[in-house]
């Protein structure tokens, strides 16, 4: 009974606020926003939008950077998994990648910018000895017009996400058996993986891939730090217009938000068409029987690429850590002239409340989301329901620009008299936590071999016990991973926390973003490291618990 309600509760929980939010983007986009004197419908906002200098370039930047980022990140992950032989080296690389998920996007962006900028860490280490540079060279590396730095930053963050999603899904595909079988037929290991495991894996990680596309086409914080500026990506332009003191800009900003939705959907559609093409074209290769070609390149490339990503991300983090204790650091010194704990001492006294808020909100939202998602999936599993079309609704919160649709959400909450408070912030976080938890867990749940539960039922075990004693333990690893992802998602929320909390629920992220606007790299570094701490603990637990619980059952440990 309860189970039957779960999918509807979940859909309602997401769609009602979403509808309110979307309406509040659509109406102003067409001229209607009575508080600002807009009480007729017209297309002026769209005309103003089209007349913007550089709009076309902004659109292309958002579209291509989203697609290329996803393609590169997926390529690296697939190549590494294909090359993966389960050696200690592979395991070590894999383990180093997971914590990278915990570092907030903005922190990675700051770290990367400082690494690769002409006055950055790499140049400092090489100068003046190797380069002869006493002053930073005048090179446009960060904020380059093609968005390469932005894409690099996004790849650093998306590779760990896709890798973790893949590892969680792989556990139930028995890749070793497939590869062993293929190898016994004479296929080289990398090719065996690509031909026998990947085609089964991709459907399981498809939704996470779509989420990456949606995220990469509409990302704001990273694009602000690393992206081009003349013009910036579409999402950054929209934020600038929404934040413009001239409130009439909000009409154009709303039209821009609708356009952003269109760009994201176009990117998703392009990817989908690409999928169909690859499916069609690869069929012959899959069954052609060619066994050797390229295996060595895969083995080398996969490890090299993932190691590069990991090293870059770790250097970025190391740069941040250095800065958090740095005194003045003159170019081209390799290390700061003096070290100091000033920055930590100034920040630490004020972070207790924000840390507690962050944790309580994140855990509450994750628990509610896990309950709803598991109930929905269990309902579908018991009644052998196919994936619902309605599940697409779940992903809308991930593709509509937050700033636009949160305004509508605040209006909605105020209209029904709900005051800003903790509970409202939790509710707002659910909008983002539920989709991520759902997409992290749903495929693993759906693909779990139904025969386990059938055997239990046929032995007379009631459905609830089968659920508790068979299904949940089998799904422990993916469930914990999904919870860790959603905890990280909740911790990363800035605008929902600020706007729906009425500024009364400070979290570590609201503190960090507010501080980031001041640009003091040292204090930003301190807050970014603090911000990474909680998700880091979450991911560590998600990896550790299955290893402890299944200490004697190696196959069940999942993502290790």
């Amino acid at each position: 009974m309860l189970l039957r309600l779960a999918p509807w509760v979940m859909i309602a929980l997401l769609t009602a606020p979403l509808a309110a939010g979307l309406l509040m983007v659509l109406l102003p986009a067409f001229g209607y926003l009575p508080v600002l004197g807009g009480d007729t419908f017209h297309l002026e906002a769209w005309q103003a939008l089209w007349a913007r200098a550089g709009l076309h370039r902004s659109i292309l930047l958002s579209y291509f950077s989203g697609l290329i980022t996803t393609l590169v990140a997926l390529f690296i992950v697939v190549l590494f998994l294909a090359a993966n032989q389960g050696t200690w080296l592979d395991r070590a690389i894999r383990r180093m990648v997971s914590p990278l998920l915990a570092i907030p996007h903005a922190a990675v962006a700051f770290g990367l910018a400082f690494l690769i900028a002409p006055s950055g860490l790499l140049v400092r280490w090489l100068s003046p000895g190797l380069t002869g540079w006493e002053r930073p060279p005048d090179l446009l590396i960060v904020n380059d017009p093609l968005g390469l730095a932005l894409m690099a930053g996004l790849v650093l963050k998306e590779v760990p996400f896709l890798l973790l999603m893949s590892l969680a899904a792989l556990a139930q595909l028995h890749p070793e058996r497939r590869v062993t079988l293929a190898r016994s037929l004479g296929y080289a290991p990398g090719i065996a993986w690509l031909k026998c495991v990947f085609p089964a894996l991709y459907p399981l990680i498809r939704l996470p891939v779509y989420a990456v596309i949606a995220y990469a086409t509409s990302v704001v914080d990273m694009a602000l730090i690393l992206g081009p500026t003349l013009p910036p990506t579409l999402s950054v332009s929209i934020i600038t217009w929404f934040n413009d003191p001239d409130l009439n800009r909000r009409f154009m900003a709303s039209a821009g938000a609708v356009l952003q939705l269109g760009v994201t959907l176009a990117a998703l559609l392009t990817w989908w068409l690409g999928e169909q093409a690859v499916k069609h074209l690869s069929q012959r290769w899959l069954v052609s029987g060619s066994r050797l070609s390229g295996s060595a390149a895969i083995a080398f490339g996969g490890r090299a690429l993932l190691s590069t990503v990991t090293l870059l991300a770790i250097s970025a983090l190391a740069g941040l850590t250095l800065f958090s204790v740095a005194g003045f650091w003159r170019f081209p010194d390799a290390l700061p002239g003096t070290f100091t704990l000033d920055h930590w001492q100034r920040i630490l006294p004020s972070v207790t409340t924000p840390l507690i808020n962050t944790l309580s909100i994140g855990l509450t939202a994750t628990m509610i989301a896990a309950f709803l998602v598991v109930a929905t999936l269990e309902h579908a599993a018991r009644h052998h329901l196919p994936a619902r079309r309605a599940q697409w609704l779940l992903y809308l919160p991930l593709i509509v620009p937050q700033v636009a649709f949160l305004f509508g959400l605040v209006v909605a909450a105020e209209s029904v008299g709900i005051r800003p408070q903790h509970a409202l912030v939790v509710a707002a976080h659910l909008l983002f936590v539920v989709p991520y938890l759902y997409l992290s867990l749903s495929e693993a749940y759906r693909r779990l071999d139904p025969r386990w539960v059938q055997v239990a039922l046929s032995l007379g075990v009631p459905p609830w016990r089968a659920f508790w004693q068979i299904r949940l333990p089998l799904l422990l690893a993916p469930l914990l991973t999904a919870c860790a992802v959603s905890l990280a998602v909740s911790i990363g929320q800035y605008l929902p926390t600020l706007l729906l909390g009425g500024g009364r629920v400070p979290t570590i992220t609201t503190e960090a973003v507010a501080m980031a606007s001041g640009g003091n790299r040292r204090l930003i570094a301190v807050l970014a490291l603090l911000q990474a701490l909680l998700p880091f603990i979450g991911f560590s637990l998600a990896l550790l618990i299955p290893r402890l619980v299944w200490a004697k059952r190696r196959q069940m440990r999942g993502a290790a």
Binding site: S119, D244, V513
Partner: protein, 405 residues
Amino acid sequence: MPNNRNSLRATVAMAMLALALPAAATPDTNDWQSIVAEAEGQTVYWNAWAGEERINTYISWVAQQVDARYGVELVHVKLGDTSEAVSRVLAEKQAGNDERGSVDMIWINGENFAAMKANGLLFGPWAEAMPYYPLTDPDNTPAVRYDWTIPVDGLESPWSSSQVVFYYDTALVENHPNNMAELLEWATLNPGEFTYPQVPNFLGNAFITQAMLELSDNTELFYEPMQEEDFDTATAALWEFLDELHPHLWRSGRAFPSNSADLRSLMGDSEISIALSFSATEASGAIANYELPDTVRSYVHDSGMIGNMSFMAIPYNAQHKAGAMVVANYLMSPEAQAEKQDPKVWGSGTILAMDMLSPEERALFDDIDLGIATLPPSELGELLGQPHPSWVDAIAEAWQTRYVN
């Protein structure tokens, strides 16, 4: 029956009274004693940009003071951008929440003020009734009554005055430029070593506005609302200047730092050697924060630099207006202003007129050590007023069209 009807009437009357109560909570701005009485025990949510740790520390100091003096609990709502608070007020108005708004007070700049005033989002007039307000000598200080040429009309109280200053690294630059023409000459000789934040960032706007004022023969025009037909002739010199300057900027003008903080980082990394700021004490503060080398000093152009004041505003639907007024008034007190001006605390310019203060109050300011990179007030030169917002909007728009893409 009559009895029943009476009790019904009483119930209705009580219900109406209950409805009327929140409206009665709007304080009488002319009765200071009742404002103070009402403020006691209120919690004031002050929405203020929080990107500077020193400012945040100063705000917590203010919170202690108003708690001890007036029993007002002050909460700093830390913002990354002032428009986030404006969004909140706008959404509340849209939803019909006209009395229990969650934003009690906003630290606001001219552009946001103009927009909120035009859209009826502000409470007031209240500011001129505040006891400390006369110390700003409003009759002789136009900047207190006109925010970016928009009449303040008592809808906001002054808090800080600021003036654009340039700062440069004396280790890298021998003689700093003294006007825009010299800056252009210097940039040509030292390509890649100067830049300004990307328009429409307010410091970027300030730079092109300063250039517009310096390069024009007839600046009076800019203090009136812009007429479309004047635009091309009045700004021709500005575009000629920027067209010449841009190829010699950092990254040849193909990218710009996004705000003053970015600009400061570039200076700290020795990427550029001249930068600008909206705060006379920014350089000294950044040296103390390890962000800039101690060889940095400030300077201003001969013709004076534009500047403005920032203010405190109370949204029309703020729930704790009395508390907000008490805090805003305290912020104007000589004691709070002197504390704010101390570079060791924050180093932001005072809005008080020194000759309105008692000798003891003046002494609070005279004793402040301004820091090595800060120009004393006597050397800041003439303060040029901000042009009418319509001009700034128009040149910012035209900048986008010319230089984006």
